[in-house]
């Protein structure tokens, strides 16, 4: 009798998250819960100015405070060749400023003290003499002929341009535009956002002089990459470095980069030979760590009167802040921007991109986003809406005409991606039916006659998730594969470790479900561990929706290796040849004699007590998985809104989401990911951004101005699914962690633009604050949200 897969918590079981048991009891083990004997506390002094030369730093008053153990400055670091560190994008970043400060909130000095209060007192006692320089807060300012040079530390850098990059077919695209009946253009800014995990960053560095071992507890989504980085930056032997990423209170991409606080806490521990703890506060996190977006688009579409897209041109200007420290595959300078339009059959395409330095916090690009696909898909869906209205065509119909058809897979996009599966039309139709599309259009017309503004916005997209394959995806040369190691104990219980690192995604629950599916070992019998580089197999960590596509695939593959060995043990126990063994979930039996069988647990015992002659004992293995392609989930999000024409305030009426992420391992967790993503999408469309004033002051460096939506205003979400298994993933799964964050914002923005359609407005930059919407309605022109914000009287 085969096991009931749902009962043992296999694929498709909406099993409760096992990690929640400790979280909801307050028994999680976060960085700030960790206390080591003799531990000191570190605090960072940050720059109040966006751009200034440092004339002098006087720390004598801080040193004089009882309980202050050390004050670290850039000068001290420079003496050890540590004032600058390499970034994940082949640039350098100041650890502590030496010459200049280049953004508000930049790390200037660190104080290590007996307790955090004293450390903070110490920071207040440091006197820094700054000579203010003009700040730059957007690409136009950065490229102005008389712009001050931000990176005067870099030899050969004579402008504020970081890179120029292009991809696609320039001539082919020019030809498509020459043949077009209509050319549709739009410009917009995707504002700077912040991942803002509830837990900010932190580390505890513990260098033990006697053993020469450095242990660092650290809030990181990618512990193995950090280990390599520490080995290179601190010039310590890699085998003597242990990185432990404990429970993480969210990451969303914020915890991928290496931050100065980590580096200085390590140095302080080495110098003081005591554990040094650094816990960032929320303002420090928002003002200085990896942000998302901040990119400008000029988009053009070549269209035929019958609605076909002939070609797409995109130009982006990205604002990288003071240091180019994007965490993204090295060869793609604006991430996967060129994955835009992958769900449409668009003929030719060409992308040019320029990146600039500004006086703003550096890098990231992340915020629940696979290397800029969030911007790519937002731009795509905003361009699609503008194109449809330029053609006078229905939004849904325009998409239907251009979406890649089911029988066109595999489909090579003009920018070179290979999409492999999907039922795009079916998802769109399901979404339209669920929202009651025709009905709503009628209601909208009726409402309009009574002076009320209703609107509907659609966003359809496929996005590349799950880097890599290793041919194309690497970070600083390290290939983006991932790994799993499975140890089945004698009693049939198991320990699974992967190179990924959960931060809320529920790996402890879902990985066990994959093992249950492959081996028939109940999920509750599988303990999942991640995040300790001394025990976990090497992996690239968790971001870019890559865990299930890559590490999850490795879990399936290692389970299959275990099953293959167990099969040989079963043949031995059942005294038949391996070819005569059949597998059903959790059990091997003899072909033709199904009653004669052994369970996986019996095989496990035998692996330690009764293995066949010549077989290596034990039932353990590992797998390194290099996926043949990215995975391509598809989504259709539809939102309806009502806009108050007098105030510009808009309310969401309904949100329908149709997601096709292939096979769903734990449907409850998948739905949670979608709802969370839609909440973030709504936030970005409605209220959330980090901006800067003329002086380079960061607006949005606390939770009174960086707005996270609450349950109160977050709309309800109606979820639907279509399942098209991924053809190359071992269990047919695709990434889902980011789809709704990526595809969601355009649905809301398109809905508002649709509602105020009569105003003749193509674009309002996010967030669609009431004053922007009101200006669009009354003035009838596009509304830009690019910094600096005006703070005139």
């Amino acid at each position: 009798m085969a096991l009931d897969e749902i009962k043992i918590g296999g694929l498709g079981a909406s099993r409760r998250r096992v990690e929640d048991n400790r979280f909801i009891r307050g028994k999680g083990n976060y960085i700030d819960d960790i206390v080591l004997p003799g531990m000191l506390h570190m605090e960072i002094l940050r720059s109040p100015l966006a751009h200034a030369r440092i004339r002098s730093i006087d720390a004598s008053a801080a040193w004089a405070i009882p309980g202050v153990r050390m004050v670290l400055t850039g000068e001290m670091l420079a003496a050890r060749n540590l004032a600058w560190m390499p970034t994940l994008s082949y640039d350098t970043q100041a650890v502590l400023a030496t010459d200049k400060v280049r953004f508000q909130g930049q790390e200037v000095a660190c104080v290590v003290a007996d307790d955090p209060y004293i450390a903070k007192d110490g920071c207040e006692a440091i006197v820094v003499d700054y000579e203010p320089l003009p700040p730059i807060v957007n690409p136009t300012q950065a490229k102005a002929p008389d712009a001050p040079l931000i990176r005067d530390d870099k030899t050969g850098q004579d402008s504020n341009v970081v890179f120029d990059w292009e991809v696609g077919d320039r001539e082919g695209t020019d030809r498509a535009f020459a043949e077009a009946d209509v050319v549709s253009t739009i410009e917009m800014h995707y504002p700077r956002s912040h991942p803002s995990p509830i837990e900010a960053c932190g580390s505890i560095a513990d260098f033990n002089r006697a053993t020469s071992k450095l242990t660092v507890y650290m809030t990181t989504q990618a512990p193995h990459i950090i280990r390599a980085a520490v080995a290179l930056v601190a010039e310590l032997p890699e085998h003597m470095i242990r990185i432990v990423s404990p429970d993480l209170g969210g990451g969303f991409g914020n915890k991928v980069p290496v931050y100065p606080g980590y580096v200085v806490s390590i140095l302080a521990s080495i110098l003081l030979e005591r554990p040094v703890k650094w816990i960032e506060d929320k303002s420090g996190n928002l003002i200085s760590t990896g942000f998302g977006r901040d990119i400008y688009l000029k988009g053009e579409m070549a269209l035929r009167n019958d609605g076909r897209i002939l070609g797409v041109r995109m130009h982006t200007d990205s604002d990288h802040g003071a240091f180019f420290s994007d965490a993204q595959p090295s060869k793609f300078k604006v991430g996967l921007m060129h994955s835009a339009f992958s769900c449409y059959d668009i003929g030719a395409a060409h992308l040019t991109a320029q990146g600039v330095y500004t006086n703003k916090a550096p890098g990231g690009v992340a915020y629940r986003c696979s290397f800029r696909v969030t911007e790519a898909m937002f731009f795509q869906e905003r361009m699609v809406q503008a194109a449809a209205s330029d053609l006078g065509m229905d939004q849904a119909e325009f998409r239907r005409i251009n979406l890649v058809r089911d029988d066109d897979f595999p489909h090579r996009t003009p920018w070179g991606f290979l999409t492999d599966s999907g039922q795009y039309g079916k998802c769109l139709d399901l979404g339209l039916e669920a929202i009651g599309y025709e009905d709503f259009l009628r209601q909208k017309e009726e409402a309009r006659r009574r002076g009320r503004l209703l609107g509907i916005g659609i966003s359809t997209m496929t996005e590349p998730l799950g880097a890599g394959n290793s041919r194309e995806y690497d970070i600083l040369g390290i290939k983006m594969f991932d790994s799993a190691e499975l140890k089945v104990h004698m009693t049939g219980k198991a320990l699974l470790r992967t190179g990924a690192k959960t931060q809320g995604q529920g790996h402890e629950t879902t990985w066990a479900q994959i093992v249950a599916h492959e081996l028939g070992i109940p999920a509750e019998d599988v303990l999942v561990e991640e995040g300790d580089t001394d025990t976990a197999p090497f992996g690239m960590g968790t971001y870019a929706s890559r865990s299930t596509p890559v590490a999850g695939a490795a879990v399936a593959m290692v389970s299959r290796k275990i099953r293959a060995k167990a099969r040989r043990i079963a043949a031995h126990l059942l005294e038949v040849s391996e070819e005569d063994i059949e597998w059903e979930l959790g059990r091997f039996s003899v072909r033709g004699a199904p009653d004669r069988g052994v369970t996986i647990q019996e095989c496990a015992i035998a692996a330690y007590s009764n293995m066949p002659d010549g077989m290596e004992p034990g039932l353990e293995n590992n797998a390194y998985y290099d996926p043949p392609n990215l995975t391509w989930p598809f989504a259709c999000y539809i939102a309806t809104v009502e806009v108050d024409p007098e105030t510009g305030v808009w309310d969401v009426l309904r949100v329908v989401a149709v997601d096709d992420c292939g096979v769903r391992i734990n449907p409850m967790i998948v739905e949670g990911q979608i709802m969370g993503g839609l909440t973030e999408a709504y936030a970005m469309a409605n209220m959330q951004f980090i901006t800067f004033d003329e002086d380079g002051n960061c607006i949005g460096s606390n939770y009174m101005d960086y707005l996270l939506p609450t349950a109160w205003e977050t709309p309800g979400f109606e979820l639907h699914e279509v399942v098209t298994p991924c053809p190359h993933h071992p269990i047919g799964a695709k990434g889902i962690g980011e789809c709704a964050t990526v595809g969601g914002p355009a649905a809301f923005v398109n809905a508002v633009i649709d509602a105020i359609g009569d105003a003749g407005v193509r674009n309002i930059d996010m967030p669609l604050l009431p004053d922007r919407v009101h200006e669009a309605i009354t003035a009838g022109h596009d509304v830009s949200g690019a910094p600096p914000v005006k703070t005139e009287p």
Binding site: S283, G648, T710, H774, K790
Partner: protein, 291 residues
């Protein structure tokens, strides 16, 4: 949170608290709900040498109408007490409209109305509500009590005329002549957000005619704004369209908003006008329904 070092005292009586204040030479702060003071201390914008926690003082958590209709709110009455109060809902429409939109539910369970007035945040909702109602506070110091109109209490952004050794023990809303009507509208970006624009309109009605009116504006100036001229223009009218347009216009002119990341000055003025009109229409409608 890691504030600067401070001394903490928790007196059991108002007299003890005043004595502590007097001793501290202006270096002490009263701690009521802590919802404004604690965040400022966390950021080290405020670093008082002494905190005088009044939460242990008995008998300050009341709010009730007197027999003559005067409404009294004790120094430890929380926003949430007001939000849930049937007595308030029955007699103080402007306050009842404001209570649920002050901050978020967590802050409302701790924060106090009196503390909000003493904090004098230009974005504080209660001050404009009280200004519209002609409300006052009762301040107690070593030499006894005095009454200060909220309009006079607020001296500038985060500044009051309270002496260093005075405590505000209660807020007082005078009794109405006729029927109280009013409303509070707030443009916020999210629940728990301070007002981009807040408008309090209070009116005392004799039948369909306004006999007294007050308009307070939140978040559109360096301090709470008393739009007295706008309010005065409503007296004697029945809140008809023209009267509301005039008042809306005057209120918008009284506002002194700045352009910032929440919106342009012009937009904020426009919202002030819109809200004055909307509250006026609301009062007028409910008056008609009652008739």
């Amino acid at each position: 949170m890691y504030p600067s070092r401070f001394r903490y005292e928790a007196p059991a009586t108002v007299a003890e608290a005043i004595a502590l204040l007097a001793d501290a030479n202006g270096e002490a702060k009263i701690l009521a709900g802590g919802q404004s003071l604690i965040p400022m201390m966390k950021l080290r914008f405020a670093a008082p040498a002494m905190l005088i926690d009044i939460n242990g003082i008995a008998g300050l958590d009341y709010h009730h109408p007197d027999a003559d209709g005067t409404y009294r709110i004790g120094a430890l009455c929380r926003h949430a007490d007001l939000e849930k109060s049937a007595a308030l809902a029955a007699s103080q429409p402007t306050m009842a409209a404001a209570a649920p939109v002050v901050a978020d539910p967590l802050v409302r369970t701790r924060g106090t109305l009196v503390g909000s007035l003493c904090h004098a945040d230009p974005q504080g909702d209660w001050a404009s509500v009280m200004v519209s109602l002609g409300g006052s506070i009762v301040a107690q110091g070593p030499n006894g009590r005095r009454s200060i109109a909220v309009n006079d209490l607020i001296d500038g952004p985060f500044q009051t005329v309270l002496a260093a050794d005075e405590i505000a023990v209660e807020a007082v809303v005078p009794a109405a002549i006729g029927t109280r009507a009013g409303g509070y509208l707030k443009l916020e970006r999210r629940v728990g957000d301070f007002a981009t624009v807040g408008v309090a309109v209070s009116a005392e009605m004799s039948g369909a005619t306004v006999s007294r009116a007050g308009i307070g504006l939140t978040g559109v100036g360096p301090a709470t704004i008393n739009a007295a001229e706008a309010a005065g223009s409503l007296v004697g009218t029945s809140l008809d369209g023209d009267a509301l347009d005039t008042a809306a216009q005057l209120a918008a002119e009284a506002a002194q908003p700045r352009s910032d990341h929440r919106g342009s000055a012009d937009y904020k003025r426009h919202v002030v006008a819109t809200f004055v009109r909307r509250i006026g229409e609301q009062i007028q409608r409910s008056g008609q329904e009652a008739a």
